[in-house]
Symmetry: C2
Subunit: 434 residues, 2 copies
Amino acid sequence: MKVYEKIYDYFVSDMRSGQLKAGDRMPSLRKCQETLSVSRTSAETAYMQLAADGYIYSVEKVGFYVTDLAGRYSDSGKEKSADEKNKLQTREKIIYNLETIGTDKEVSILDLWRRYMKSALRQEERLLSYAGNQGEYDLRSEIAAYVRKNRNIICSPEDIVIGAGFQSLLSILIALIPGERSISFPTRSFTGCAETFSMAGFDVAYRNKASHVIYVTPSCMTKWGDVMTMKRRKELIEHARTNGHLIIEDDYQNEFVFSSRPTPSLYAMNGGEDTAFLGSFSRVLLPSVRISYLILPKGVRAEYEKIKKYYNQTASKAEQIALTQFLRDGHLQRHIRKMRRLYVNKRAQTVAAIKKSFPLDTQIKLGNSGMEIGLILNGKNLMKKLENSRVAVTPVEADEKSVSVLISCSAIPGKDIKAAIEMLACDLYPDKRS
Amino acid sequence: MKVYEKIYDYFVSDMRSGQLKAGDRMPSLRKCQETLSVSRTSAETAYMQLAADGYIYSVEKVGFYVTDLAGRYSDSGKEKSADEKNKLQTREKIIYNLETIGTDKEVSILDLWRRYMKSALRQEERLLSYAGNQGEYDLRSEIAAYVRKNRNIICSPEDIVIGAGFQSLLSILIALIPGERSISFPTRSFTGCAETFSMAGFDVAYRNKASHVIYVTPSCMTKWGDVMTMKRRKELIEHARTNGHLIIEDDYQNEFVFSSRPTPSLYAMNGGEDTAFLGSFSRVLLPSVRISYLILPKGVRAEYEKIKKYYNQTASKAEQIALTQFLRDGHLQRHIRKMRRLYVNKRAQTVAAIKKSFPLDTQIKLGNSGMEIGLILNGKNLMKKLENSRVAVTPVEADEKSVSVLISCSAIPGKDIKAAIEMLACDLYPDKRS
């Protein structure tokens, strides 16, 4: 544990015990240095982290004050609900987290990305002007080259629209298809995108072939990453063409299709007709970088030229400039290859550990893509045991006799996989533990 | 002119004359260095700038190619329309630009901002995770402190939602006010925001007091920056309260209210009831930084907690982290004070120059805020003369005898103001030139 973390914990514990209350002034940095015998930097880092996590806030030229948040977590806090208390207790108990789909630090490219950001921040002329609505032209050129190489898509920078996340891009697409008023999603988990369509007056359905717009994720058809077969792809394209439907191809997880041959994109198979393509760099680059892109269906490009002035760019210009050069230098391709190798390895390790630690009647669901593995577990009171487990996983469905869960091995360090799986098995099947 | 700019112009001129055509390969960087006797860095910078402006694109491990764009501007290009030709000719002729509301480089804080971005990029843990939907908590704390100090607004970080631009924030607000279905804007110039409401099924009107939602910019009521009077503010609040209407207060240009006392915010006057507040940092910080915020009306906060999971964050996390510390250290306040001093000075210079160079019957419209000055010019064929002028300004309306234009002195260097105004007068009134 680093010094600043100790300082952090020291104050959080004071807040929880009620010694520091909402509205109290924090000791000055100098006081903190002296009392705890720590360096200025450690004290500062701890305070910044406390502020970042919402425990304290600063008042210019005065100092730091304790927020409400701290009070809510405190044992004597009045605002604390039973729910929050449970959450907190659970959070403190978790030793391994197999819930998140975060990035493995082993393949972090943050150092490299920092260099490109620094270089982007030197482009004075570009940073002193507003971003173009469609996104930076040179980034769109690089994306056109990237999808030509990886997704067989032939398109020009003019066909590509940049945005911070899918929701703002879908708002633009919706404005381009005014006749269509119903959409079908593969599952109920596309909450954000479904909300965007619903707010625009669309009827939202699930797996309904009659909908005007059909949203699909061909590289991730099930929670554990089954990939859409060629046969289904051809059928879908044929169906959409016959009925005049629009396909939205969300390319989620395509970079992590492991066990099958590279999958062709629907957009390419369909020659760009009646298909919109959505891609994102958040997952393959850094979760905090919000740059996504929409490749417009061929038919709406002229219409887009007319309405683009109404839609301001949302993605950061500096990050767009950095990503352009990052792509140009081939770093993303290299990084994806590296991640694929690591993740293939971790998936195999996870499956081996499950086979060793779990009862024989446990079903393992392993798709062709992604870092999530499905497990169907048999036994009683498993939901209760999952809630109390020291290992966090994502429950999918449950009945009296069995529970399905998803296990993600993307964020956990490879060296911890075996121990985490063993601990989970031990928490769920304490009696069977040999 | 810097060396890289010469190289840039050299190639653009080759493209325009047709010596380099769309699809042609550019000389390699080494070749360019040798032929033109320039440094590697200059050649690279020129190529990057050509790529950024859409003239060339790179193909990994092969080189750079000329795009369509270059062809469209070429004298022999087939795609070039009369419109584009005119635009290009005009663009080449412009000596002074009084059209843009860009930033004056004299008060650029890019160097300082770079330092904060570098520091933000060191926060590894935060950059390796996804951004919270509502925006970073510590940034919201700083914004709460900022509006408390500058706008008399008492609110908590929980009342504030961060987003990249107003459109994504308004989408969220719309979802929170499902009953309301008509909105009124002050003028037709709010195209982006009007589009967002229109797509959500709202009737869009202008200056219509009967609309359910009333969008106002109290610090910029006219094109030349008139500020809403206290009397009007009270009337508006009373009207909204009586009829159950919602006010959206767009705080545009409040930082640049010069000649009157600081204007109270409607949000504060109304105690946060039935009022949503929109603020942005793009204008006061850097145009390329897309961070805006919405302060929720008091009544919808609980509802927001329910729907916030559907709205992913759009603003860059690194920029949010940098801005937090930037605000905390008081730099924005200092920067705004500096800009205000500079702009007050430039406005006075511009007005003095206009009085000296223009005919006596010219009307000067000068509001209390902003860097735009309105001019009502009398004379014949003025629109034609404006189009051919070497000074770019923004025409607002015209009849046979007169033309109104807007002149912005924000981006032009102070030392050029006098010459620019004289040149404009000379182009519009060539006969009166003494």
